[in-house]
């Protein structure tokens, strides 16, 4: 049986990543209350959301350290979700 071993982050790294995620969430919440930002508010919130999303996927879900095949499968799901997102909005004439 092949037993290819691969490395994962240590507990210390996981704690640091969790602290980072909490900090970003706190910033997001703060931004949601700042009204004078205008359209930039939405852009910032989405940007921080994307950062949190991919941080969890890369580190906690180990995609950064796992084989490329899993990255491709998940990417397919994400792109598919965005396509579904666009199709639903287009079908309902939201654009």
């Amino acid at each position: 049986m092949a037993t290819a071993t691969h490395a994962h982050p240590t507990a210390k790294t996981y704690w640091l990543i969790a602290a980072f995620l909490v900090a970003v969430t706190a910033i997001e919440i703060g931004i949601s209350y700042v009204e004078f930002l205008g359209p930039a508010q939405g852009v910032l919130l989405v940007t921080f959301g994307v950062v949190k999303f991919f941080t969890v996927v890369a580190v906690f879900m180990h995609l950064r350290y796992d084989v490329r095949q899993y990255r491709m499968l998940f990417l397919f799901g994400i792109v598919g979700a965005l396509v579904v997102f666009a199709v639903v909005l287009a079908a309902m004439q939201a654009f």
Binding site: M1, A2, T3, A4, T5, H6, A7, H8, P9, T10, A11, K12, T13, Y14, W15, I17, A18, L21, V22, T25, E28, I29, I31, S32, Y33, G42, L45, V46, F48, G49, K52, F53, V56, V57, V59, F60, M61, D66, V67, Q69, Y70, L73, F74, F76, G77, I78, G80, A81, L82, V84, F85, A86, V88, L89, M92, A94
Partner: protein, 202 residues
Amino acid sequence: MAVATDDVFEEHDFESTGDPIHRTRKTAMWIWLGSEAFFFGAMISTFLLYRNSTNDGPGAEIFNIPFTSASSFILLMSSLTMVLADSAFQRRDQRQGRIWLIGTVGLGLTFLAGQIFEFTEFVEEGLTLSTSPFGSSFYMLTGFHGAHVAAGVLMLSLLIAFSLRGRLSADHGMNVELTALYWHFVDIVWIVIFTVVYLLQI
């Protein structure tokens, strides 16, 4: 075979990514998570479409952002305890793994309790499943997410029971890893829901 060159990484000696059965199961899990992304993508776009269709009923103004922020914090922390549980089982530290799993279940149940409380508050304020398209799409999206959390709590509880009965040996370590993948997926879906549904005021 050590891959790490510094203390950032640690070695896991039983996670057999080269084992065809393990690799097939993990591939199947990633395919399923990809299909789940499609599912939630459709639900989120439906919510965005109807977020202003309130039929003169309650809308996004009834959201309690501080409360939901606390719920988000709890779910983020549950991802930390989950990854620590996975890491402990990879090291064959059953006791430590169980402790982190119990912590994850506790956080998951706290999140669910918060969601039930939130739904109860909204219903009292007049927002039900049939009040408006906004209400329908909101409850469907967050309700399905809550159902996924509940399923995750059930799976984690089973893992704890298996571990206590000594049926979560190194050979079954993949079960923890697959459950962890599912749990983190539930977390990232919430990251999107929290940002798009609660914080973004389009």
